[in-house]
Structures are given as structure tokens and as C-alpha cells.
Symmetry: C2
Subunit: 589 residues, 2 copies
């Protein structure tokens, strides 16, 4: 059994850092206790590591295939998903009155972390279906919910999001799929969709496609987009007019089918409008925000798995000697003793544990918002592009480094680290590319509601810094955090002050770099929170966790000393709204 | 025909920046002219792009396989290599009296850049054989040279380096392969070797293995290593006692077989000592330094191919609109018009053209050293770890970004960018890992001969800065370069001053970070040289190259404004000899 996500760390983040137990006191989660959550997290860890992880390599090597009629996936995949469905994980986050377990969102993300780390391809099917279910609850009619939600929650059916088209990936304004209204109130959907994860397979009895399409005569661009339910099989059991054109063959993430789908080759797929016409994009964003958190969680978890594999190897592999040991007859040391290997492990640890902390903290904001904290919702909106992108960048970097720790072995397909690296490369692309996230953060979220989210972030950071400043072990971290935060918020204010005069193109020209800079400040802050929590627990004399807690303090210091300064140099070019990229001429490349 | 390396850029680097034509005046290269070099570079570009590039994807998908008896490689691979051999490329760098063409090393690297960019797997076989040939010339007896060199130069035979063993990758002190002396003056070689590129195949009539082994009774550790020629087939045509145990199945670079070999399963492979006993490691470094330059060249070239693919796609793919265009009816723009795509392209361009400039400049030092410039040789020694590592880091990053420019398409195996990314991941591992390069640079090269190489580097940088400072277009670059160089050299001096007191473990603890920082300063310097050369050519009114030359200035500014500052933040932690990694406890991970 391979541990790909450390349960001890997850418990530390959920309880010592985020304090998730406070949610148990709220009526929304009435009757739940830490013991319940621990039990289900345990169960998830067991299924993930025993049933899911061993299939990850096989799903990569024997990837799904399409014979022109049917999609073939190794049968163990279906068995593993059924195990998951049977245990009720699909129901974890839905409200009890909808047939769910009503767990806090933060706990459901903890569950998902185990499954992502063990086998991101299988997780894909499950997460998309949860996302479709949540979108239906938020936007569909009670009749639609009654028809589609129960089988999605039970795992008998799965779901997809159909946004992109071959000619329009990030550019949703240009989608061409159309939905023609019928006399009976249904629509006929006609068009081509691309990059549809889980778009076809036989893992479930039915597939519920949530399709973006334009009703003829509606407004141009994104304002004319409506959302439709287009099931693979209609209620009477007949097959809807949705056809798999082909599977995309990817570098990684191979176990999740990724499809080019045609709707309406034989006249039109039957579709059911969700909510109001032309509101499709805002509906989709109910799912998209959740999907973006899910991507960040996946990226952090895949990185985490790479880190643990590299860590195990570094403890076991003996090679080389200390720089001051000149005796070739002395035994080689485990490579974890080499300073450069420790540097690589600290880099990975700070990325993957930092990324996981980021996503779980963000998930706790979902719960806070549910419990009525409006500011938490604004902060969640602000952090969502960071939650999606930061782990996609640094989780991938962790996977890259894991290969390095293994050396030549890591570059072979005999070890999992190269697969994890390939899997993680997707995460900057789907559910909004890195560039899209940057524009979302700087162009929308930073100034939303007069910058209320940023103010809440600043206040949270200062509260942490004040606490850290008061303790000798964390005073250095407090100073570093305050300096970085002051610089980041100062740069933001300076940019906003000049935005109108400079125009949107110049204001947004370095948005991706801004995304990365602010992300580093947020993760640096959460590392101080981890350090404070570790200090507190060490102070309480928790002997069994001593090494683990001391490691948290070391990783926090590493991140502040080795990683944060480089990210902050970007502040200069952001502040001056550097136009080098904006003004580069296409002919000069 | 796919252009994977831009001939115009190579000419600019060779002539405008490096001034390679000066070598034509030297007797060593008598009778050669720029026209000769241009002709052979043209020929290389043609064969690389017409014959080699189209096989790259197939060699990846249909990777070499071993049926227990023989290795199978797609037959087109042999045909493509024969085209290369027939055209005489293998002979390009050898002296005429040895049967070669006697081209300057810089030109041979220009040739190799085309082949690397087109098909790095095929290049592997050719480059290893050239390396073995050069090592024989430098270290073997005339009789050995007469026997082995001609078929290596003609391409009838190929060569390998057999250093690593399963239990000892980077730790050469611990190799166990032994060579037992025989009465006839030959040796019997017995042991297991790992990671042997080109270790078995039927692309050539014979394979010349250069094997590191220990003669029983010799000194322990690396001082007891000797070097042997162990041919696959002996002179009488019988097969030597060398057996392929298995092929390693890699993430990328799949067309070059990578082998676990057993020597002496049937009593001992016949080996011939090269040079003196126990001098094997220093002999191997004749080849290793060349191999390290070759790795850097390969990494820059693979990155370059990714950049050109992404560039072509960015010019052609239409999606989205400018941030200030709110009209959804306006046509989508080519994505190269988006500031963030230009940022990605500038990042790639600065990495791959900067990396290629680095390696070609380093190659010109090989020629300078041949012509008697001892300081150039010291500078070459100093830069070799940087030439190996910097392109391995940033060429890979360019390949990562190329996928991002393609979006979802880039993540599929229908486009070459994901393969190039997988190929390039190897380069930080083989021929000395990144960590090894850092220790070589900081532990050996920086202080070599009293720091003469560093002084020469400082003088070269200041000469460039002085020239750049005198021109308005490059004054900003001069200031940036001077500040970065002063900081890097200052930090180096500070570290050296404290090295004895701190001890080798602390001095070397952040060697990898030092490697990266100094690498950035060197590449920043070479970008200023490129900017100066572009300015000069623009001043000379070269209308046909105007866009290309202006693009060089933009890329130079991008690198100094966007990339150099972050690298320089490491100076602080280097200066204080930060011990966070060194002192991290293994139990805390």
C-alpha cells in the first residue's frame, strides 16, 4: 500500500491550522463530529490507496480506446469507481434533504485529496459528476433536480461540462453550438464540442452533459449563451443524438476519457433548458468555480504523491558521501543526507503542503460563506484563481523535482514519478488557463465590491503576522510576511490608481505575473499559519508529532527564505506596468 | 518541412555575436571559409528537417524494443543515420590527419544544433560516437586509434560510455566492475553497467564500449578506476562477453536505446586498457566535458524546437480579443496579439536563444583554447557546468510553456510539443545531475587556478557592459548587467572568504542555487552581446533582417527586466550561506 497523501498532514491542516471542527457546532452540520469526519477520511485513505492507486499506472499504460463504436476502459476502473460510489463518497457534499451526507465542503476536499493523489484519472469522473449535481441544485428546476440528481449522487450516472469547441477554447464568446426551440418546450442541440472530459464511456448507465449553446436570435457573444441538459440516454431509453467523434490522446491524465463530441449529426440532440435563456455562462460558473478549486486540489495532490515517492526513495537509496568525508571506504549515505537533496525535498514539501493548505483554506471559505459570512465569499472569489493556478504551477514543479531525486530511475516508466509529472501538466490548461486566471484575478476579483476581498485578505494576513511577531520562533516569518504583503498590496494600489489612465491592455499586460506574486504571498501567509499551529502543538508537548511539527517550522522558514524573495521581485515590473511584452511586435519573434 | 531551429538565428549567433570567422584565419583551420561552413550548415539543416524530424514522433511511439535476443528499431532510423554518415557529419570535428574535416568545434556544434532540434534520439547515437572518437584521440595508443577511430568516424561503428552502475549512479567511487589482467596484456571485464545510451542496437556493425572498471589491488575510490575499450565484436568477428539485460523504458528520449548491460557473464569480456592504469576517471572527463556541452546544446535545441512550434501556432490560431475590444462581433485575433502570449513567447525566446548563445559561445572557447588561449580554457572549464545545466533548466521550461501556448492541443500527442517536453526532462539527469554540476562549479571551477576563470569572465562582462553603456539603446542593459555581475562576483568572494571557516558542507550547501544564479548572469551578459550585435547590424541598415534584429533587442530587454532580477535574489541567501537546507532533519520530512 503506497501512501500518496499523508493523513497526519491532512489532519494537521484541517484541525490545527484551519480549525474545521468549529463547523460541527453549526446547525447546517448538525449531528456531525470530528470523529465522524475522521472515520470517513480514514475510509477514503484506505480505498484510495488500496483500490485506486494500484490502477493508476495501468490506466496510463492501457489508456481508454475507441473502436468507432464503443469506448473500452480496463474493467478494474469501473470496479474501483463502484467501490467509491458504494461507500457513498459521491454523496458526501450534498445536503441531506437532497440525499447527501451534508459534510462541510472542507471535509469533502480532504476526501478528494486522497483520491486525487492516488488516481487523478478516476477522480475526474467522480468530481465532474459532483459538479454537475451541484450546478443542478443551484440552477435547475425541482423537476430537473428530481430526475437527474439522485442517479448522479448514487453514481449510477455521471456528468460532463460541455463548453469548449474546436475553434473556441478559452474564447467562449465564439461558441457556435446552437439550440433550436421546439414546440414541446425542449430544444434541439446542434454543434461540436471539444475537450469533454468523461464525454463518453461505459462506467455509468447514463451521462448527463451540461451543454453551453446559443438560442438563435439571442444576443451576440457570451450574453447569448444558454445552458442545457443533454443526456446520453433519454428517459425512454433511446440514445440521444450525441456522438463520440474521437478520444484525445493526452500526455497524461490518460484514464479520464477526453472527447470530441458531435451533437445533432442526425437532426439535433434533445436538450432541456436550465433556468432562464442567455444565463448559461453565469450558471456554468457555479460549476466552474468549484471545478477550479478541484483543479487546484488535484494539482496539489498529484504533487504531494510525487513528493512522498521521492521522500521514500531518498531515505532508502544510498549514494555518495558528505563533502568533508574523503574516505572512499566509508559506506555511502542515504541520499536524504545530502544538502542538495534536502533542498529539493524542502522545495517540494513547501510547494505541496503549501498548495494543499491553500486549497483547504479556500474550501473552508466555502463553508464560511454557506454559514453567512459575506466577506468570506468575497475572499473566496478573490482566491479562486490563485487556488487553481498556484498548485498547478508549483505542484508540477514538485513532480519535476521528484524525478530529479530518483535520478535516471525517475525518468523511467518503472516508477510513478514520471506519470505524475505528465498528469499534472494538464492543470494549467483546463478549467481556464493560467492566463485566464491572471486576468480574472487582476481584471475582476481584485477590485470586486470596492476591493473588499483584498481588504479581508490584508486583515487576515496582519492578524497572523501580529501573532507570529509575538513569538521568538516565528518573529522572522512575521517580518518577512509583513514586508511581502505590504509590497503586494502597495503594488496593487499603485496599479489600480493608474489603471484608468493606462487602459485595460496595459493594466492587464502582466496579469499572469501578478497572479503568481499574490499567490506566493498567500501561500507564505498560510505557511506562517502552519508554523504557528506547529509551534502551539509543540508547546503543548505533543511528543508523538514532534518531528512532524518541527518539519513544518523548517518548511515555513525554507519557503520564506528561499522562495518568497524571488516572487517579490516581480513587484517592481508590476508597479511600473512594464510594457515590454505588451509592445513586443509579432514580427520580432 | 518543419523548421525546428532557425538558420538565420544560428548565423547571427555564429557571425554577428561570436565572430567565428576569425578562426578561418588560423592555420589550424587553413583553407576553410565562411562559405564552406555556410554550405555544410545548410546541408545539415536540410537533412535534419527533411530526413530526421519526421522520424522523431515515430521513434517515440514505436520505441526500440528487445525480444530477449535482438533490439528492434524502426528501419527508417538506420537509413536516416546512414544519410548523416554518408554526408560526413560524423567526421566534421576530427582533424584531417585523422580522417576528419577539421572544422572548428563551434561549427560542429552549430551542425549538431540542427540535428538535436530535429531528432534528439538519433543525435544521441552520433554524438556518443564522436565523443568516443575524441576520447581515443586524446588518451589511447596510436595502434588503438588506428583500429577504432576510422570506423567510428565513418559511422560503421558507434560508441558508448559505460560509467554508471545500478547501485552507483552519480557515485563513481563505488563502482564495482572489475578488470582482471591476463597474460596476453588484455583484461577480462566483469560487472553490471546501467543507463548505457546506445548500449545495444543494430544500427552499426560494431559498438565500442568505453568502460570504467577497477583493476584488483588498485587504490580505493575514484583513484582506482581505469578505462577499457570493450568492443561488442572482437577483431575476429566473435561476439564479446557483453550482454544486454534489458532496455530502460523512458518518459522521453525514447529513440536512443538505454541499456542495462552485463559484462562477463560467461567469464569476462575482453577489454583493452586505455593509457595508464587508474587514470580512467580523468580520461573519461575528456569525453564528459564534451558530453556536457552536448547535453546543454541538446537541451537548448529541444527547447528551440518547442518555441518555433508554439510561435507558428500563435501566429495562426485565432482566439479572443483585446481587453479593450468589447464587440463580440469583431473577429477573434491571432493569439500572438495577446500580451500574455507574447510574454510566453518572449520567455521562451529568451531561454532558447539565450541557451543556444551560451553553448555556442562556450564552444568558441574550445576553439580559442585549441589555438593556445589558456585563459579561454579556464573560462571554458568554469562555464561547462553552466552550459550543461542552464539550458537543461530553461530549455525544459520553454518546452513546458510551448504546451501552454497550444492549450489543450499541446497536451495531446497529436502535436510535437509534449514529446519535446518529455525528451528534455532527461537533460538535468544524465552526464552529471544538476546537483553534481553545482558542486563542480562552486567546489572546483570557481576557485581553479586562483580564480583565473572567474577573473576572465568578469573582464569579458565588463568589456561588454562598457560598450553597451556607450550607446543609448543598450545603456539600460549595461547598468542591469553591471549590477548583476557585481553582486554575483561579490557574493562569490564573500563565500570564498568564509569557506575555510564554514567548512565544505556549508560552503556547498546551496551550490545548485549558485549555479543557477551565475548562469543567469552569464546568459544576461550574452543577451547584451546579442543586443549589441543587433544594434550594430541595424545601424548598418540591414533592412532584410530589421524585424529579426529588433526582436533580439526586445528579447534582451525582456530577459533583463523579467528574468534576471528574480535570479539575483538568491544572492542574499548565498552570501549568508543559508543553512536551512543543510540543517533540515531527515525526520522532519
Amino acid at each position: 500500500m503506497t501512501e500518496t497523501l499523508r493523513a497526519e498532514d491532512l489532519a494537521f491542516l484541517l484541525h490545527d491550522v484551519i480549525g474545521v471542527s468549529r463547523f460541527a457546532n453549526h446547525p447546517l452540520y448538525a449531528g456531525q463530529s470530528r470523529e465522524d469526519w475522521d472515520a470517513i477520511l480514514d475510509l477514503a485513505a484506505g480505498i484510495a490507496e488500496r483500490e485506486w492507486e494500484p490502477l493508476a499506472a495501468r490506466l496510463d499504460v492501457d489508456e481508454p480506446s475507441f473502436d468507432g463504436e464503443r469506448v473500452h476502459i480496463i474493467p478494474e476502473a469501473k470496479a474501483a469507481l463502484e467501490e467509491y460510489w458504494k461507500a457513498g463518497f459521491q454523496a458526501a457534499g450534498f445536503a441531506p434533504e437532497r440525499g447527501g451526507m451534508g459534510l462541510p465542503f472542507t471535509i469533502t476536499q480532504g476526501l478528494a485529496a486522497f483520491f486525487n493523489a492516488a488516481n487523478v484519472s478516476l477522480t475526474g469522473y467522480a468530481m465532474l459528476s459532483v459538479g454537475v449535481g451541484n450546478m443542478l441544485v443551484a440552477t435547475a428546476s425541482e423537476a430537473q433536480i428530481a430526475e437527474y440528481l439522485p442517479p448522479l449522487i448514487e453514481g449510477r450516472w455521471t456528468g460532463t461540462m460541455c463548453l469548449s469547441e474546436p475553434q473556441a477554447g478559452s474564447g467562449l464568446a465564439d461558441i457556435r453550438t446552437r439550440a433550436e426551440p421546439q414546440a414541446d418546450g425542449t430544444y434541439r442541440v446542434i454543434g461540436s464540442k471539444m475537450w469533454i472530459s468523461g464525454g463518453e464511456h461505459e462506467l455509468s448507465e447514463n451521462i448527463v452533459h451540461m451543454v453551453l449553446a446559443k438560442i438563435p436570435g439571442g444576443p451576440p457573444g457570451v450574453k447569448g449563451i444558454s445552458m442545457f441538459i443533454v443526456p446520453k440516454f433519454l428517459k425512454d431509453g433511446t440514445r440521444n443524438d450525441v456522438r463520440l467523434i474521437g478520444l484525445n490522446h493526452k500526455m497524461g491524465f490518460r484514464g479520464t476519457t477526453n472527447c470530441a463530441l458531435n451533437f445533432g449529426d442526425e437532426g439535433g440532440a434533445v436538450g432541456y433548458l436550465v433556468g432562464e435563456p442567455h444565463q448559461g455562462l453565469s450558471y456554468m460558473f457555479h460549476m466552474m468555480n468549484e471545478a477550479r478549486i478541484g483543479v487546484g486540489l488535484g494539482a496539489a495532490s498529484i504533487g504531494y504523491a510525487g513528493y512522498l515517492h521521492a521522500l521514500a526513495y531518498a531515505k532508502e537509496r544510498r549514494q555518495g558521501r558528505a563533502p568533508d568525508d574523503k574516505d572512499p571506504a566509508s559506506p555511502p549515505v542515504p541520499i536524504i543526507e545530502h544538502a542538495d537533496v534536502k533542498r529539493m525535498l524542502l522545495q517540494m514539501k513547501s510547494y505541496v503542503e503549501g498548495g494543499l493548505a491553500l486549497v483547504l483554506y479556500g474550501a473552508s471559505l466555502v463553508d464560511e460563506a454557506r454559514l453567512g459570512d459575506e466577506e468570506a465569499e468575497l475572499l473566496l472569489d478573490l482566491l479562486t484563481p490563485i487556488m487553481k493556478s498556484w498548485p498547478s504551477e508549483y505542484g508540477l514543479r514538485a513532480n519535476e523535482i521528484a524525478i530529479q531525486v530518483f535520478g535516471g530511475y525517475g525518468y523511467t516508466r518503472d516508477y510513478p514519478v514520471e506519470r505524475l509529472y505528465r498528469d499534472n501538466r494538464l492543470n494549467h490548461i483546463h478549467e481556464g488557463t493560467r492566463g485566464i486566471q491572471g486576468m480574472d484575478l487582476l481584471g475582476r476579483k481584485v477590485g470586486q465590491k470596492g476591493g473588499a476581498g483584498m481588504r479581508r485578505l490584508a486583515a487576515e494576513i496582519e492578524a497572523t503576522a501580529a501573532e507570529a511577531a509575538s513569538r521568538p520562533e516565528t518573529a522572522e516569518l512575521a517580518a518577512s510576511l509583513r514586508a511581502a504583503a505590504a509590497r503586494a498590496f502597495g503594488v496593487t494600489a499603485a496599479m489600480q490608481a493608474r489603471a484608468a489612465e493606462a487602459g485595460p491592455a496595459a493594466y492587464l499586460a502582466n496579469a499572469t505575473i501578478y497572479l503568481d506574486m499574490l499567490g506566493h504571498v498567500v501561500v507564505a501567509w498560510l505557511w506562517v499559519r502552519q508554523a504557528l499551529a506547529a509551534e502551539a502543538a509543540l508547546g503543548a508537548g505533543e511528543g508523538a508529532r514532534r518531528d512532524f511539527l518541527a518539519g513544518k517550522l523548517t518548511a515555513a522558514r525554507y519557503f520564506h527564505r528561499y522562495e518568497l524573495p524571488a516572487a517579490m521581485t516581480a513587484a517592481d515590473l508590476l508597479e511600473r506596468m512594464d510594457r515590454t511584452c505588451l509592445e513586443a511586435e509579432a514580427a520580432g519573434f
